[in-house]
């Protein structure tokens, strides 16, 4: 290493990376891309219905809440944090949207208000994580419990219907230019997430906080505010997911989204984002979320028990992460 430091006249030691080295450098994303392709090929061959436009659009429509929240969760996990409360926030906003519509609140106001509520819940949790130094796992575990409890208290455990004639249902059910609206919303959120993560100073600081928060702080960045902001993102994203779900199902249930946080975390981790922080990829998260969705869809189309889904998903999580550690070791030195 050292000779290149003191001998500027020495020929550049920068060797053009081979495809294999490039693959190793992006280990997480490459391995999930391989898994995604493999799963798609298997189901395309095994079933006639899988590789059809309506089915593929249906997958994206159904996985929109997962895609939206996972893109926000990528920010949280990249800072080295975690947000376990997203399933509960989803349930709370789904029930509240049904309740507020029953009260006759105009639907744009409902959507806006609930997005603000989700962001506020995220800000409250982010405050305890960023400014009070309580581990994110504990803060959001408490949030998971409290927020779900509030949703149950509001509904008394019942599911609340949304008037089928309400234009609110457009969000979850309508099609626009041949594509379901939830899918369009998800694509828009993902595009914004990708740009923010990779092309803005905020995205850079999110990675920096996960890698070495003290270094970023010494560089004069308000790292606490950055940390708080990522929880605002997951809160707002979970609220959006709750609105889409209530609109698609035509009702708000306080029991919706149970275990949703684990699906989201699985999608993010599958996509190669490190739970230790400092390393994240929105593209990986998209592939991870779609892999989870495709497995669930494909198993049903193949007339296999839907209860196989958690088994297959869990196995793939373990194998994909194991591949990251073994096959693509070079890409993740410091783990």
């Amino acid at each position: 290493m050292s000779d290149s430091v003191i001998k500027p006249e020495a020929p550049s030691r920068l060797v053009r990376a081979s495809w294999h080295e490039k693959a190793v450098a992006r280990g997480g994303v490459v391995s999930i891309a391989l898994f995604f392709a493999a799963v798609c090929i298997v189901f395309s061959l095994a079933t006639d219905a899988f590789l059809t436009a309506p089915n593929l659009l249906n997958i994206v429509r159904q996985s929109a809440p997962l895609l939206i929240v996972a893109s926000a969760m990528t920010f949280v996990i990249t800072t080295g944090g975690i947000d376990l409360s997203v399933g509960s926030v989803l349930a709370l906003t789904a029930t509240l949207s049904a309740v507020l519509l029953q009260w006759g609140v105009p639907w744009p106001l409902v959507v806006l208000g609930l997005l603000c509520l989700g962001a506020a819940v995220g800000a409250a949790q982010g405050f305890f994580v960023a400014y009070e130094g309580i581990p994110a796992f504990i803060v959001t575990l408490a949030g998971l419990s409290v927020i779900r409890g509030v949703a149950l208290l509001i509904t008394g455990g019942y599911s609340i219907p949304v008037d089928p004639a309400s234009p609110f249902n457009v969000i979850g059910r309508a099609w626009f230019l041949g594509v379901p609206v939830p899918a369009l919303i998800a694509v828009a959120v993902l595009a914004v997430a990708y740009i923010v993560f990779n092309e803005t100073a905020f995205g850079r600081y999110v990675t920096g906080v996960g890698a070495n928060a003290e270094a970023v702080r010494r560089a004069g960045v308000n790292t606490r505010l950055v940390t708080l902001a990522v929880y605002v993102l997951t809160g707002a994203a979970a609220a959006l997911a709750g609105i889409i779900l209530a609109s698609r199902l035509g009702s708000g249930s306080s029991n919706s989204g149970q275990g949703f946080e684990l699906d989201v975390i699985a999608a993010v981790v599958l996509g190669g984002t490190s739970l230790f922080g400092g390393r994240g990829s929105i593209v990986g998260t998209v592939l991870g979320a779609l892999t989870v969705a495709v497995i669930a869809n494909g198993l049903i189309l193949a007339h296999l028990s839907p209860f196989l889904t958690p088994i297959v998903t869990g196995s793939i999580i373990l194998i994909a992460i194991w591949l990251n550690f073994r096959l693509f070791k070079g890409g993740s030195r410091s783990r």
Partner: protein, 265 residues
């Protein structure tokens, strides 16, 4: 003011007490523009504390700091940075998973505005990072490399390069050559010379005494929170400096054990 405006930095009567221990006791330090000052002393002599006072990380109990003849008081590292006092920390403060250019520009990334929104200007960042590295003679093949893939010397160079490129008046370096390979030490020392040649005053804290004689103009020795000696490099030798650092301790002991003072190392 004529006397003090000679100096880039003038610290006088600096005292700091951490409960039972007087870490700094009426310490003073002066530094001229473009001068390299070696700050040495045993562990716990107060050199790191003194440098942190100057970089705003520690607020002294008493004392006065003047920079270019102007009295200043720093409450945070950001205040010191605003007065263009930069410090390279021992633990480097780099983000491993961020690329070279990103680390050089951490916290002051060039932006470009598209449709009223602010985005990172990556092409400009990489171009300026390249120019910055070339100007300081730091050889790194690609500014897109992640810092975790670099050698210790290259990482050190980036940490120094970042501090130097804030256009500092004073650059404080805490153990910049600890844990480096021989050739890497040479590269870092070259970097210190390059920076001071551009008029930056440098405070170098190190245990590697041979480095002091290669780059420093002056050496200040501290012992148990006090200044004990100040020598021009041309007037002293490595033996004398060792005696000043260690010898006093033997002398202090010998006061009790009636042993002879000053054991040359």
């Amino acid at each position: 003011m004529t006397e003090s405006s000679l100096y880039r930095v003038r610290m006088t009567g600096i005292s700091k007490r951490y409960h039972p221990i007087q870490v700094l006791d009426d310490v003073s330090l002066t530094l001229k523009p473009g001068e390299v000052l070696g700050l040495v002393g045993d562990n716990g002599a107060g050199k790191s504390t003194l440098s942190k006072v100057l970089s705003g990380a520690i607020i002294p109990d008493a004392g006065r700091i003047e920079i270019d003849g102007e009295a200043v008081s720093f409450a945070t590292p950001a205040d010191a940075r605003a007065a263009r006092v930069e410090m390279v920390y021992q633990d480097l403060s780099l983000c491993d998973t961020v690329d070279v250019a990103g680390n050089l520009f951490l916290g002051r990334e060039p932006r470009r505005r598209v449709a009223g929104l602010s985005f990172l200007d990556k092409p400009r960042m990489h171009a300026e990072a390249r120019a910055m590295l070339d100007r300081l003679g730091i050889v790194i093949a690609d500014t897109r490399l992640k810092v975790e893939n670099l050698s210790g010397g290259q990482r050190q160079s980036i940490a120094i390069g970042r501090a130097a490129s804030f256009d500092p008046r004073v650059l404080i370096m805490d153990e910049p050559t600890a844990a480096l390979a021989v050739a890497e030490v040479e590269a870092v020392l070259d970097l210190i010379r390059a920076v001071s040649a551009r008029g930056v005053s440098v405070i170098l804290i190190t245990h590697r005494l041979q480095d002091l004689f290669l780059v420093c103009d002056r050496i200040q020795v501290m012992y148990e929170g006090r200044n004990v000696a100040e020598r021009h490099v041309s007037d002293t030798s490595i033996e004398e400096v060792v005696n000043l650092i260690v010898g006093r301790k033997f002398a202090a002991r010998s006061a009790k054990s009636a042993d002879s003072a000053g054991v040359p190392a």
